[in-house]
């Protein structure tokens, strides 16, 4: 007696394990969930493999082949099928538009980074990096705006424009991934330049300028008075993962 249903269950679990493991292996998992979940994802792949293995104990027990159960297995594998048709990638300009820009993030995104940024009174240009993107923006626009006025900073991100902006304003944004891509929050610094925004929506730029008092959506807000805008290649990790950053290898 050969139990085809148990074999199918075993195969479904194996395919799922292989797919999850593949996401973790290829690094595409970084487009989906925060790096702190990577161990959980890898463990899940391992656990699925074991669960599949133990289904073998049923291979010789009698069981009817059931259309509903087979449909259920296909349903559980539907994320695998979807990813075969539409390969996993990073969210971009469309998502920023839809979810709406947050210009003065109030959350806690790594106190140490904010502190380090805040203390950095060096002459010259301070770089807002992936590691402190959210923390620095919070410090500049929300926690201590007055302390940072007049500082020269450089920031990289995706260009975004929305209805609340003046003609000479645009935002340099990144998506903050807190847990998974469903909750990614667009955060950005409002930039102001005499010539308006020189590049297209969704393009990646590196902007240098001076922090000044400005107005956005009829509210006072620290903005970046632009001196230079350079188009850049999108970075390998377009999201930022507060606190800190994720750099594979």
């Amino acid at each position: 007696m050969f139990n085809a249903m148990a074999v199918l269950r075993c195969l479904a679990l194996l395919v799922l394990a292989w797919w999850v493991d593949g996401l973790a292996d290829s690094g595409m998992v970084a487009a989906l969930v925060h790096p702190r979940f990577f161990p959980a994802v890898s463990l899940a792949a391992g656990a699925l493999f074991f669960l599949a293995l133990f289904q073998c104990r049923r291979f010789t027990k009698p069981e009817k082949l059931n259309a509903w159960s087979i449909a259920g297995l296909l349903l559980i594998l539907s994320p695998v099928l979807v990813s075969a048709v539409l390969p996993v990638g990073y969210l971009g300009a469309q998502t920023i538009e839809k979810r709406g820009l947050t210009v003065a993030p109030a959350g806690e995104y790594g106190g140490a980074e904010a502190e380090r940024f805040s203390r950095n009174d060096a002459e010259g240009v301070i770089e807002i990096r992936e590691e402190n993107f959210a923390a620095a923006l919070k410090e500049i626009t929300h926690d201590n705006p007055a302390r940072h006025l007049g500082k020269r900073v450089v920031i990289s991100g995706m260009v975004h424009r929305d209805k609340g902006m003046r003609d000479n304003q645009f935002a340099v944004t990144r998506l903050l991934l807190i847990c998974c891509a469903a909750d990614a929050v667009p955060v950005g610094l409002i930039c102001e330049s005499e010539d308006g925004c020189p590049v297209a929506e969704g393009a990646w730029v590196r902007v240098e300028g001076t922090l000044e008092e400005g107005v956005y959506m009829q509210r006072p807000l620290t903005i970046l008075k632009v001196t230079t805008v350079d188009a850049i290649e999108p970075p390998p990790q377009p999201y930022v993962y507060p606190p800190g950053a994720y750099r594979p290898e």
């Binding site: 899940a44 133990f54 839809k98 959350g107 998974c180």
Partner: protein, 310 residues
């Protein structure tokens, strides 16, 4: 389209490890805990049962996907239904990881964290009390337990799978793996349907739409409850999303989102319907929805004209 696919897969990949953990815990309970152990535990302590169930949430860091199979396992082993309900509703909110992340999302407004835990416990208690008073019977689907016909336990399944044909600890561990696999497939397919719909709505809904829906004391609460329900975020992350609405909504609306979302959302509704009988789940949804709506509305009225942002 591409955005939808990414969101769909990301919620699934995020939820999968936690659903696996839930099914493993549930399978351990099924195989190792004696049949009447939990029933006896609760028998003499029905007064404090609700408080125990709600407090248990503080100890078990499990979110709304993992909790469903665990509660089923506990009820199957004789835990009272009302205690199961209270545990189901409280655990995804009061667990330490969720409270810590809420605090991190609202560092300058501790009231949000405090009220989230407080309202969460209160509503879990109220719903538990409701079910203790008005609900009798077995809420589990398919009588007590249905396993695939060919469970290799080697026993005929009555109340639950108690032991295996194979002796010893190793045999029992094998049973755990077998049952966890079954349960993952059984509830996993409902999770996929829920995740699919949640991703669809998450992709379609814009923040502006929500803002247009309601700014009033009651309409803002309803709008944020709807949002929390359909986007089905993990309770560990939802506070950061709520923080993005900080400037636009009053405290009651944010709290409604933070309390209602973990208790009920699109993806776990499908899980609930897969495990519990339809009428039971519908009653649960109505009770929780009314309770959260009323509580959050009250917060909005008491908070006066001040916005949530302090």
């Amino acid at each position: 389209m591409a955005e939808f696919a990414v969101v769909f897969i990301s919620i699934f990949v995020e939820a999968l490890p936690f659903l696996l953990l839930g099914t493993l815990i549930s399978a351990v309970v099924a195989v190792f805990v004696p049949d009447d152990f939990i029933a006896r535990l609760f028998a003499s302590r029905s007064r404090s049962a609700l408080a125990v169930a709600v407090s248990a949430g503080f100890l078990l860091p499990i979110c709304e996907c993992g909790i469903v199979p665990i509660v089923r396992g506990l009820i199957r082993k004789g835990a009272p239904v009302y205690a199961g309900v209270a545990f189901l509703l409280a655990a995804p909110i009061v667990n330490p990881i969720v409270l810590a992340s809420t605090y991190y999302a609202f560092p300058d407004n501790f009231a949000i964290t405090f009220l989230r835990a407080g309202l969460g416990m209160l509503i879990a208690l109220a719903a538990g009390a409701f079910f203790r008073t008005f609900y009798a019977g077995n809420p589990l689907r398919g009588g007590m337990y249905v396993l695939p016909a060919a469970c290799a336990c080697g026993r005929h399944h009555g109340a639950s799978c108690q032991g295996s044909g194979r002796p010893g600890l190793l045999g029992k561990c094998g049973d755990v793996m077998l049952h966890a696999g079954d349960e993952l497939i059984e509830v996993g397919k409902y999770l996929v349907v829920g995740v699919f719909l949640a991703a669809l709505l998450r992709t379609v809904l814009a923040r502006e739409t929500l803002l247009a829906v309601g700014q009033g004391d009651l309409t803002s609460v309803a709008a944020m409850m709807f949002f929390g329900y359909v986007v089905s975020l993990c309770s560990e992350a939802d506070a950061f999303v709520a923080a993005a609405f900080n400037y636009y909504f009053k405290a009651g609306a944010l709290l409604a989102f933070l309390v209602y979302g973990p208790m009920l959302d699109l993806k776990n509704t499908f899980l609930l319907y897969s495990v519990f009988k339809g009428r039971f789940v519908t009653t649960l949804i109505v009770v929780v929805t009314v309770a959260v709506l009323a509580a959050a509305w009250l917060v909005n009225i008491l908070a006066g004209e001040a916005t949530a942002h302090v």
